[in-house]
Structures are given as structure tokens and as C-alpha cells.
Symmetry: C2
């Protein structure tokens, strides 16, 4: 791509709107968790989601081992919570990066403060580039309250381009 | 999933924010085009996008044959344009579904009224379920003007859950 196309690629891809989520997984005693924004549904039946996950992350390693995922949907106002998950994962008792978590059917950590969540199994991935496109099948979900999602825009952050 | 989890799955997946795009492709004389919203970036290098494409659509068939794609990003206010692409593709001269189009490097139709676009090649897909998760590598892009993206929310439509 020439310089002009590179610049257009960057600004155009940054037009895609994103929410913020905590993706978490558990394999044995190992917990991986991180904030992600590259998420889209890709099928109704079965219900599939595609998630861009950084390859050189503990989260990705643990996800590969566990084959299970929990995706906590964050709520408008939970910017600080989200930013805590841009840091390396630290687990203390029943909390990850200072946030209490719970588990449901898959054993994947769900952030208790999140208004809604889905969990399920990893059914595939498209592994090319700096992030892998991990495909998860949703097998369980819960809603604690109706909420507007925390967006990347609300956080004043750009991750894309 | 029990009834409660099904309902939570639906409402939670509907929290994901989406923009609206016209995905188009050309194989020989055959043009496929349609409005899609299931789009996310999944890698910086190479720049990849994941796009959920309905399996039983002419767009999907043509995309499989061509291996190339054009993704026109729609702008706030272009709801009618978007809705025109929920209908079957009709090509008349240099227009698709009544919208003038142009081509750049890949030959994939780009809606001329769109403020920005990317195009490239299909590098893979995860084909499971009613939509396929098609992975495209962006090889070229253009911006005509800065614009806020048309969102599914602005259109008063839900597609997900």
C-alpha cells in the first residue's frame, strides 16, 4: 500500500464502532484475562462470536489450553475497570486485577460487576497476524441488569486501523 | 441452553455495537452486494477484518468465486442507502441497487456515495452456522471525507442475538 492508502486504511478501520469486554479463561490453576474490543457475532445458529486476541499474551496461551471462554460485557462508566484489564493478569483469591469474579458452567471467570456475560467453548480460530481471530460458540449467558455498553469511544481510546 | 439463558444470550449479544457497510464483490460479469453489520478488525499486521456473511446469499456465492472484496463504510444519514442493500442485488449499468459504484485495484464495487472504503482479498473463512466468518486482508483503502459511521442503532434495527 502506498502512503495515502495506508493513511486511509488506518482512518477507515478506526470508524468501526467497538464495545469493551473482559475475556477470561481458566486452565487448571491458570487464569488468563484481558480487555478486548475486537468482537462481533458471526452466526445465529449456532450462536458464534469472533474475538481478536493478541497472540503474545498469557490470555491467548491459556485460552488455547482451556478451550473455554467467558466474555463479560462492560457498562458505560466502567472505564477504570476496563483499563485494569489492559495490565498483566494478577489473581488474588476470588478476584482478578482487583475485580471479584464468579464462575458458571464453563468455569471461565466472569467479572461480577459486569451487567451481562456470555460463555462457551472455542470452536476454531483463524490464526494469521498479530492477533488470532478466535471463534467461540456461546453455550450459556446471563444478564444482571439492562445497561448501555462501555464503548471504546467513551474511553477516548482507539484500537484499530 | 434453558429459556432464561437463551433470553440472556439474545439480549447480551445485542449489546454489541455495530456499524453498517456494503460488502460487494465481482466475479466475471457477476456482482454480489449486500449490507452487513457483523464486522470487526482482527489483526493489525497484516490488516485483517472478519465479516459475517449469510451463507444462503448470492453475495456469499460470488465472494467465494472472486476471492476479492470491497467494503464501503456508510455514513450517518445513509439509512435509505443501507436498506436498499438488504434487497437482492440488481445491477444496471454502473449502478447497483440504484447506487453508483466505482472500482479500484481489486475490481470490487465500491459505493461512490460512501465516505470511506477498504478492499482486499479473502484469505480464509470459518464456515460453521448460518453465516460464514469471512476473513479479508485489506490491501487498499480510500477516504473521501471524514464522517461518523452509520450505526445499526441509528437505523433502529437489531441484527444479532
Amino acid at each position: 500500500m502506498n502512503e495515502q492508502a495506508e493513511a486511509a486504511k488506518k482512518s477507515t478501520l478506526r470508524m468501526i464502532p467497538y464495545g469493551l469486554y473482559v475475556l477470561a479463561t481458566k486452565s487448571g490453576d491458570e487464569i488468563g484475562a484481558g480487555a478486548i474490543n475486537w468482537v462481533t457475532q458471526t452466526s445465529f445458529a449456532p450462536p458464534l462470536v469472533a474475538m481478536g486476541v493478541k497472540k503474545d499474551s498469557g490470555l491467548y496461551d491459556t485460552l488455547k489450553k482451556s478451550g473455554q471462554f467467558g466474555l463479560s460485557f462492560l457498562e458505560s462508566g466502567q472505564k477504570d475497570l476496563a483499563f485494569g484489564f489492559f495490565k498483566p493478569t494478577t489473581v488474588e483469591g476470588q478476584s482478578i486485577n482487583g475485580q471479584a469474579y464468579e464462575t458458571h458452567e464453563t468455569g471461565s471467570p466472569i467479572i461480577s460487576a459486569a451487567p451481562a456475560w456470555v460463555e462457551g467453548k472455542v470452536v476454531g480460530e483463524f490464526d494469521m497476524g498479530d492477533h488470532s481471530c478466535v471463534i467461540g460458540e456461546v453455550t450459556n449467558a446471563g444478564t444482571k441488569r439492562e445497561a448501555g455498553i462501555l464503548t471504546l469511544e467513551e474511553c477516548g481510546v482507539k484500537y484499530g486501523g
